[in-house]
Each structure stands twice: as structure tokens, then as C-alpha cells.
Subunit: 120 residues, 2 copies
DNA sequence: CGGAATCCGATCTGATACTG
DNA sequence: CAGTATCAGATCGGATTCCG
């Protein structure tokens, strides 16, 4: 594999379960922190913060702070993030389409007979 | 997000840095354990084993053991895995294409000035 | 509202040693 | 060759508390 280590790290970050859904959520419009938290079911405040920071650092989303009280922070896809969105959407879509098949495969795998213990 | 928790787990497994490259590696032909280890640079034996097991459980790859000495084990994509391959290739390709941009964004982020400490 | 900081158990991962 | 078993260090991730 010619791919170097840095590319792998990026793939890992992008492919992480939360990042994918953050990117997807920003498809149509910018969102505030609270909006994202409500939209992405089950994400903790901490993980949302961490995920947003890493996506911002990779140049995939832009964070805009409005100096008002109470604070207002909006997240939006950058042009780069928007090119990624297509890839990510495909992935989410593929998963939704094949969840049943995957679940069946898991059940089959889990109910497979144990290999016979070695006779002495 | 209407996506349930199980779908997120699947996305996370598929998107994990090693799984993506295992799937990609099986594009053209079946491969043996050692081949995969050599192809996927930097993967430890343990992580390759763990990754292969999880992909097998999800029905994405098929593991074939030939009862010979020394053992011969071949891994191949299932039809389901083959449909995923397209998605995964797109992702790897996107990352390769945009590594420079991402690196630049990271540098810019990391060299950003610290926010001024609060004056008392 | 949108975090940051801390604590801490759970999980991941690599290294190493061993095996059919 | 293709693993399994085990252990220790690293990282993840939730809960909680506090802040501008």
C-alpha cells in the first residue's frame, strides 16, 4: 500500500462514526452547536466538541462565532468539506441500504458452530 | 438523525482506518493473510486479525481455509463487500486527492494565534 | 449557549510469546 | 503460515462541574 500514514489517519478521522454524521448534517444549511447535538442522536457534548474541532482543523468545516450574548456559533461546510460530503453521503446511504444484509451476516456468523475441541 | 445506533456502529467499523484499506486491497484478487500484512503498510498482526474478523462477521469478506500444511487462508470480497468497495475506493481516492489541502488547513489551524488571555 | 477542564472506567492497540 | 493469548500503555468517551 503506497498510502502513507498521514492519509490513513485522515481516513480514520473522516470515517469515524461521528464525523460522518456531522458532515452529513451540514448538507443543507449551517447549524449551531445545539442544533447539531439535537440532530445527531446520542452524541455527547464532549464528542461533538472534539469532532467539530478535528473537522475544523482538517479544513472541512468553518466555525463562525458571533459576539453576542448568549453566544452564537455556527458551523458550515467549507468548499473542501462539500466535496467530501458526496463521498460521505454515499457511505451513509450504502449502510442504510445494506443494514439488513449485514445484520443477517452477523447472526449467521454468531450462530456458527464452535470448532470441535481437539481430542487428546 | 433518524439513523439508529446500529447503523452508526457499522459506519464506524467500515470507516475505521484499517478496514478501508483491507477492503481496497481485496479489489482485484483474493489475498492471503501474509499478503495483506505486507500490502497494508504498518498494520500489526493483531489489528489485521481483528479487522478481518469484523469484516467477515459483517459479511463483507469471505475467509477460506485450505487444510494443508502449512496452513493457507485466503480472503476475498463477498458480493456485498464488492458493492462496498466502490464506496470505499471513492473515499480513499478523495483522501489522496486532498491530502495537500488538508495538510495546509492543519498547518494554518495550528499556527493560529492564541486568544488573548483575559485581563483582570 | 457553547463550550473547557477534569476524572475515570472502557476500549483499543502494539509488542511479545507461543502454537497447530 | 496464520494465527491465539496475554499484558501494558495509549486513547476514547461519558459524566460532571464550571465558566464567559
Amino acid at each position: 500500500m503506497t498510502t502513507n500514514c498521514k492519509a490513513r489517519e485522515v481516513v480514520g478521522r473522516i470515517g469515524s462514526k461521528w464525523a460522518i454524521y456531522v458532515i452529513s448534517s451540514l448538507d443543507e444549511h449551517t447549524m449551531r452547536f445545539g442544533d447539531l447535538k439535537k440532530t445527531i442522536d446520542g452524541i455527547s457534548q464532549r464528542m461533538l466538541t472534539v469532532t467539530l474541532r478535528s473537522l475544523e482543523r482538517d479544513g472541512l468545516i468553518r466555525r463562525t462565532v458571533y459576539p453576542v450574548v448568549p453566544p452564537r456559533v455556527e458551523y458550515a461546510l467549507t468548499p473542501l468539506g462539500r466535496t467530501l460530503l458526496e463521498v460521505v453521503s454515499t457511505m451513509v446511504h450504502w449502510t442504510d441500504e445494506h443494514m439488513a444484509e449485514i445484520g443477517a451476516a452477523q447472526s449467521a456468523y454468531d450462530s456458527r458452530p464452535e470448532p470441535e475441541p481437539i481430542e487428546q
